[in-house]
Amino acid sequence: MNPHLPRDAEIIERIDESPGIFTLRLRLTDLGERTAYRFAPGQFNMVYLHGAGEVPISIVSDPESPELLDHTIRAVGRVTNGLAKLRAGDRVGIRGPFGRGWPLDQARGRDVVIVTGGLGCAPVVAVINYLFAYRGHFGHVTIIQGVKHSSELIWRERYAEWAKLPSVQVLLSADHGGPLWPFHVGRVTDVFDKAHLPGDAVAMLCGPEIMMQIAARQLAARGIAEDDIYLSLERNMQCALGHCGHCQFGPDFVCREGPVFAYPHIKPLFSVKGF
């Protein structure tokens, strides 16, 4: 099969999450392709907008229901602004899934800490859903989510639902709070003092790199092994096949060896500007 070639997919539903952030629920139109499609949380698809181009978008829906593929997108560029104009019934192309997802096997039977910033929550929502779908297989779950402005928080109801579950802690934080923001105001890393961070937990981080750098250092300082800290990186991806070279991070092609990496693997270059 030609790895360059996208497949036709129909938008089944379009969900507005917050100003500028929306979710496209996609279904491959070819029945054979649809039933054969599988993905793991943390993997991504190349989503093609006709005449405009392809963009890498992580799949946030339930991996146990791969016939419907949710892609949560922020309208920030030429292609994503075009995707923002689409409605149910419109068509896009998809190619994937690509990359390595989150270390769910390694997390089995252990406590899990999830730290996200901004729309960084999108790639890990699939993980959170998975943790709760297989609740008995995992220990305590700590979810820490930070946004720049309180209005940017998406899925607020989901966080509220998760917070009600046993053995779950949810901590929300905004750099700039609003009138209806009962949570922390300040850096997301400030709430670590309140967080349940068991030393034998597996941590999964996603969001702006500066946030992940600080979070990884703080988690390590609080006793979580660096080998158990995982981060999802973002780079320019054009082919998703490990060929085009844009997403290279030192020796790795983020589209192929990532986007999820163990912290020790990327640590040497992670704080060096220009990689």
């Binding site: 790895p3 006709h50 896009v92 490990g242 040497p268």
Partner: protein, 373 residues
Amino acid sequence: MSGNKEQQPQFLPRASFQRLIDALRAAGHRCIGPRVKDGAIVYEALERADELPSGIAVDQSPGQYRVRETPATPRQFAWANGPQALKPLLFAPRETLWRATRSADGTLSFAEAAVHAEAIALIGARACDLAALALQDQHFLHCQYPDPHYAKRRERLFIVAVNCSHPADTCFCASTGDGPRAESGFDVALSELDDGFVIESGSARGKSILDGLGLDPARAGQVQQAHTESEHAAAVQQRNLPSRNLRDALFMNLDHPRWADVAERCLSCGNCTSVCPTCFCHAENTVPSLDGKDSEQVREWDSCFTRGHSYIHGFTVRPDTRTRYRQWLTHKLGSWHDQYGRSGCVGCGRCISWCPVGIDITEEAREICGDDA
């Protein structure tokens, strides 16, 4: 293809070179070989032996490439290499990957673009370029997603190598271990002497071409002369890279002041990446028709020296020349070891000759690695 010599070296008299071209054409190959064009030696269609660059020498130095006539020699390969390697023949500078069409009901259909893959016999491949070809094979073929365009062209490429006897001042293949003699990766290999060529096959299809020529075995003196010329071509090379792995030395020196120094000279033009036989970066561009119904996905060579190369939604990872040159060099001489088990530099020296300001990769690497090399 195998690097093992399939038969004893034979001798192809210069006057019989046309027979080799004719045999390749009779076997269904279109011949491409070195020709002088626009002041450089480039690979072009070759039908007659007298189209080869007879009595031509090339002077290369940092930022300089000049073809000059040397009527004294009968030789046709007495020069190192031109701007092109084998790369453009297999990894096309620009090509369409697929076409998308939107039908009246909005459905998108995607069709693979036809691959333009002629049976080509390339005459004149140098050892450095064969080493680079092996690296491009690793990148585009021996991977999780083999590229179908590259694969089809690669399958149909017949390679006639020519061992280097006249390296340029910019060459350093001896230090990277990639030349000047082609040891593997060819179908037929030639060593040029004044009156003809020592000729060997390196594959079954190469042997079949040679068998058809019915040549005499090369005399021991001719084989010896070819080896002596290869040894001489290695010995006269002035430039070199340390033959050991420079990865650690480079990554230990990411803050070296030399990066800013080279950035003052570098124009960030990307000439080095265009002429580099191993650079593989490319962009994918979406080119819609005017009526918006159809669209083509076009792959085109890209360079890590452009601003767009590291762009992600509103942020450029490498905004300046310092970080771009550092990316290029730490990748080429560093991360390649992790990715492909060896350095990405084959010592062809093209990036030195074709750099408009004459930046010399061997000098920069030496300055930056210093005593850590």
